[in-house]
C-alpha cells in the first residue's frame, strides 16, 4: 500500500513537470529561488559521488535529478536526499538484444583477444629489442617474426568495427550532451551514438544506436556535445544529423540535415507549435522536421538562445579570428508565426561585441538584457531590444581563468562558474555587479536550478546547494 502510494506520488510529480534539458528550457533563465551563498561545508544539502566526471549538466525530472557519467552512464538520484535511485549503461551492446547483441558481444570479445595477444607480443618485442642491443644472435629473427605477427593483428584490429566505447579521454569525453526530460521519461544521448529513454523508475523505454559521430565538427576536433530537446512527443536528437524520434518508441519520425555543431538546438514555440533553432540559423518544425527558415546565422560551437520569440546568435570563432575581426558578431532575429503554420524571421539588430577573446559559452537573456561571458571572465551586456552594447565587466576574482559553463540567471542573480568551480554571483543590469565568489569543485557543466536548490555537476559528484530538503 505504502509502495503504491509512493509510486503514485512519483508518477504524479513527474506528470506535472515541464520539459527540461540543457539550461532548463535552453535559455539559462530559471524560475527559482537559489541560495545566496554557500561554502564547502555550509549550504550543501547533499553531495553524492557518481564515479566519474561529465560535462553534461544535471536535469531535474520530477523527484529525480539526473546526470551523465563518463563514458556512457546515466544516473538518477533522489532530488531531495541525493540517494542514487538507478543507473544505466549505454554501450552499444547494452542497448540491443537478441542476435544483434550476441554479434556485438562476440565482436567485442574477439577484439579483446586480439588486443591481449598484441599486448603479449609487445612485451616480447621489448625483450627481444633489449636482447638485440646486448648482441643476442637470434634477436633479429625473433624481432622479424614478432613484427610480422603484430602487423597481422593490427590489420585485423583496424578492419574490425569496434562496438565498444573507448575509455574516456580528452576534454569533451563521451557524455557531454545533457539529458532531457518531458516530465515523464528521461532521455540520454552519448557520443558513441547511443540515444535512450528511461522511465522514472529506470526501466528502459527504448534505446538505439544512431551510428558513428560526425568526423568533421565546426570549431574543435573531438567528440560531441550537442544536447537533445524533447517537445510534443518528439525527441530532437542532434547527432550525425538532426533527427526527430518518437519519444515513446524511439522510431525515426524525420531526418534532417547533417549536424557538425557542438552547440545544441534551442526550442521555441511559435503559433502554438514547437520548433527548434539550430546553430546554423535554421528554424525546424519539431513535428515533421521541415526547415521553415534558414540563413539566420553561422555559429560554430555555441548554441542559439531564445527569449520569447527572439533568438540570439553569438557567432564566436577562435581567439585569433576574434581579434582580427575586431570582436564577435551578435544577431537578434524576431520570429513571427504566419498563416498556415509558417514562420517569418525579421532581423532586429546586428552588433559586434568588441571582445579580444572568444566565448566558449552561450549567453543568457533576462529582464531585457543579454549577458555573454568570454572564456577569460569578461561579462558583456547588451540591451536585448536595441543591441546597444554596455561597458564590459571583468571578473577580477576569477582571473586568470577559463570558463566553459554557460551563465545562468535565477532568483534575480547572474551566476558565472569557471572551470575550477569558482562561482561569481552578480546583480544583473546594464553593468552587472559582483556580489560574491562561491566555491565548487572543478566543472565544465552549467548549473541547474529548481525551487530553492542549485544542482552542480562537479568533479565526480552531483551536489545540491540550498536547504536540506525534507523527504516528501
Amino acid at each position: 500500500m505504502r509502495r503504491a502510494a509512493t509510486l503514485a506520488l512519483l508518477l504524479a510529480a513527474t506528470a506535472r513537470a515541464s520539459p527540461s534539458g540543457w539550461r532548463g528550457d535552453g535559455s539559462g533563465h530559471w524560475t527559482a529561488t537559489p541560495p545566496e551563498a554557500w561554502s564547502a561545508t555550509v549550504g550543501v544539502a547533499w553531495s553524492t559521488p557518481l564515479g566519474d566526471w561529465s560535462n553534461a549538466s544535471p536535469v531535474v525530472a520530477g523527484p529525480l535529478v539526473c546526470a551523465a557519467v563518463e563514458p556512457t552512464t546515466l544516473v538518477c538520484l533522489d532530488r531531495h536526499t541525493g540517494e542514487e535511485r538507478w543507473r544505466a549503461p549505454h554501450d552499444r551492446a547494452d542497448v540491443v538484444v537478441g542476435a544483434e547483441r550476441e554479434a556485438l558481444l562476440a565482436r567485442a570479445a574477439r577484439l579483446e583477444v586480439l588486443e591481449a595477444e598484441l599486448a603479449t607480443l609487445r612485451t616480447r618485442h621489448g625483450a627481444a629489442r633489449r636482447a638485440a642491443r646486448a648482441g643476442a644472435p637470434d634477436a633479429a629473427a625473433e624481432l622479424e617474426e614478432i613484427s610480422a605477427r603484430m602487423n597481422g593483428l593490427r590489420k585485423e584490429l583496424d578492419a574490425t568495427e569496434d562496438p565498444r566505447t573507448p575509455p574516456t579521454q580528452g576534454m569533451v569525453g563521451w557524455s557531454s550532451p545533457t539529458p532531457a526530460t518531458d516530465g515523464a521519461a528521461i532521455f540520454a544521448l552519448f557520443a558513441n551514438g547511443v540515444v535512450a529513454a528511461h522511465e522514472p523508475d529506470g526501466r528502459r523505454r527504448f534505446a538505439r544506436w544512431l551510428g558513428a559521430p560526425s568526423p568533421h565538427m565546426l570549431g574543435w576536433e573531438e567528440g560531441h556535445a550537442a544536447s537533445p530537446v524533447v517537445r510534443e512527443g518528439v525527441l530532437v536528437v542532434p547527432f550525425g544529423r538532426l533527427r526527430g524520434l518518437d519519444a515513446h518508441t524511439g522510431e525515426t519520425r524525420w531526418e534532417g540535415r547533417p549536424w557538425p555543431h557542438y552547440g545544441s538546438p534551442s526550442a521555441v514555440d511559435l503559433g502554438g507549435r514547437a520548433h527548434v533553432v539550430t546553430p546554423a540559423g535554421e528554424l525546424v518544425r519539431v513535428a515533421d522536421g521541415a526547415v521553415l527558415v534558414e540563413g539566420l546565422a553561422d555559429m560554430w560551437f555555441l548554441s542559439p538562445v531564445v527569449a520569447g520569440h527572439t533568438v540570439f546568435f553569438l557567432e564566436a570563432r577562435s581567439d585569433a579570428e576574434v581579434r582580427s575581426h575586431g570582436g564577435v558578431d551578435l544577431k537578434a532575429w524576431r520570429l513571427h508565426a504566419t498563416d498556415g503554420a509558417g514562420v517569418r524571421a525579421e532581423l532586429r539588430w546586428v552588433t559586434t561585441l568588441p571582445a579580444t577573446e572568444t566565448f566558449y559559452t552561450a549567453p543568457v537573456v533576462a529582464d531585457g538584457l543579454l549577458h555573454a561571458v568570454t572564456h577569460g571572465g569578461t561579462v558583456w551586456t547588451v540591451d536585448a531590444a536595441t543591441g546597444q552594447v554596455q561597458a564590459p565587466v571583468v571578473l577580477d576574482s576569477l582571473r586568470p581563468t577559463t570558463i566553459y559553463s554557460s551563465p545562468s540567471v535565477a532568483g534575480g542573480r547572474l551566476f558565472v562558474t569557471d572551470e575550477l568551480g569558482r562561482t561569481v554571483t552578480l546583480t544583473p543590469g546594464p553593468t552587472p555587479k559582483a556580489v560574491a565568489t562561491l566555491p565548487l569543485a572543478p566543472t565544465r557543466a552549467s548549473l541547474a536550478f529548481h525551487g530553492p536548490h542549485v544542482y552542480a555537476r562537479v568533479a565526480d559528484r552531483l551536489v545540491a546547494l540550498g536547504p536540506p530538503a525534507a523527504t516528501p
Binding site: E144, R154, P167
Partner: protein
C-alpha cells in the same frame, strides 16, 4: 713572366696544390643536399634537411663511475666508453624520412619495394600502385632494410649519418640525456598513446601504438630536429661492434649495422636516451625501424 716570378714558380705551384688538396679534404657543409630538400622554415615539421654547425662533445655514456665523465645511471655497456669527439658541420633531416619520399624514390627507380615491408598493419609504406594519400605519405617510412635506407638517402642527395653525427644531433655540445634536455619524458603526449587493451603490460609509462607523424612529436632539439627519441630506431652508416669485444656479427649481406634512438615499443624514457644504440642485421624489415638521412660534412 718576370724572372723573379719564374724563379718562384715551383713554390707557387706547390702552395696551390696544397690548397687544392685541402679544399677537397675539408668538410663542406655547403655541399649538402640539393636546394629543394633543404629546410626553409625550421618551425615546420618536415623531412627536409637542417644544417647543423657541429662542435666538440662527449659521445657515449657509462654507468660505472658517478665521478667520471659521461655518467648516466641507465647507461648499458654498449653505450660506452665515453670519448670526446669533434663533429664538423653537416646536414640532417629534421624528421625521419617519409613514406612519400620513399614512394617518390621508387618511382624514380632509385629505391626498391623489395627493401621495405608493404603488408600494412604497423608497416607504414604503401606500394606505388596504391593511390596517393597525403596523410599516409607524411608518415615516417618504417620496416625498411639498411640497403633501402641507404638508397633513399642517396636519392635525396645525402647518405646515412654516422653514429657520431646522429648522437651529436640528439645530444648537442651540452650532452643532453634526451634530445629535448634532461627531463625523462615519453616521446609522445598521452593522448596519442595506445589504448589500454594494447599496452605492453610492462611499465606503462610510454605506451605508443605504432609510429606517429612528426607533428605528434612535440619536443625537438634546440636546433629543431624532431623525433630523435623513440618513434623509430634509425639506421646509421656504422657497423656494429659489441661492447664486450666479441667479433662483430654479420650477415651474408654484410656486417650488422647500428641503429640509434629507440622505437615506439619503448616503455620507458630511459630506453630512448640519446646514447641508446643497438646492432641489427641489415636485411631485417622491422616496424620500429626507419631512417633519418644526413648530407654534406665528412660523413
Amino acid at each position: 713572366m718576370p724572372a723573379s716570378l719564374r724563379a718562384r714558380l715551383p713554390e707557387i705551384l706547390a702552395v696551390l696544390a696544397v690548397c687544392g688538396i685541402a679544399w677537397r679534404l675539408w668538410p663542406h657543409a655547403e655541399e649538402g643536399p640539393p636546394a629543394q630538400h633543404r629546410c626553409t622554415d625550421p618551425h615546420r615539421a618536415d623531412a627536409c634537411f637542417l644544417r647543423l654547425e657541429g662542435g666538440r662533445f662527449l659521445q657515449g655514456a657509462q654507468a660505472l663511475d658517478p665521478t667520471a665523465p659521461g655518467h648516466d645511471p641507465d647507461a648499458l655497456p654498449e653505450e660506452g666508453p665515453p670519448r670526446t669527439v669533434e663533429v664538423g658541420p653537416f646536414w640532417l633531416q629534421q624528421t625521419e624520412a617519409t613514406v612519400g619520399q620513399y614512394r617518390a624514390c621508387v618511382r624514380a627507380g632509385a629505391c626498391s619495394e623489395d627493401e621495405v615491408e608493404t603488408g600494412g598493419g604497423y608497416a607504414t609504406y604503401r606500394p606505388v600502385t596504391a593511390p596517393d594519400d597525403g596523410d599516409g605519405d607524411a608518415m615516417p617510412v618504417n620496416s625498411l632494410t639498411w640497403r633501402g635506407a641507404s638508397d633513399l638517402c642517396a636519392w635525396l642527395g645525402g647518405r646515412l649519418p654516422t653514429e657520431t653525427e646522429w648522437e651529436f644531433a640528439a645530444r648537442g655540445v651540452a650532452g643532453r640525456r634526451w634530445p629535448w634536455g634532461d627531463q625523462a619524458w615519453c616521446p609522445v603526449p598521452p593522448d596519442t598513446r595506445s589504448r589500454p587493451g594494447q599496452r605492453s603490460g610492462d611499465d606503462q609509462a610510454c605506451d605508443q601504438d605504432g609510429p606517429v607523424r612528426a607533428t605528434n612529436l612535440p619536443n625537438p632539439t634546440p636546433e629543431r630536429v624532431l623525433g630523435m627519441a623513440g618513434n623509430l630506431w634509425e639506421w646509421t652508416a656504422d657497423a656494429w661492434a659489441p661492447a664486450d669485444g666479441a667479433p662483430p656479427p654479420s650477415s651474408p649481406a654484410g656486417p650488422h649495422r647500428t641503429q640509434r634512438g629507440g622505437g615506439w615499443t619503448a616503455t620507458h624514457p630511459r630506453e630512448v636516451r640519446g646514447t641508446v644504440r643497438g646492432g641489427m642485421d641489415p636485411t631485417t624489415r622491422l616496424h620500429d625501424v626507419g631512417v633519418r638521412c644526413a648530407a654534406g660534412g665528412a660523413g
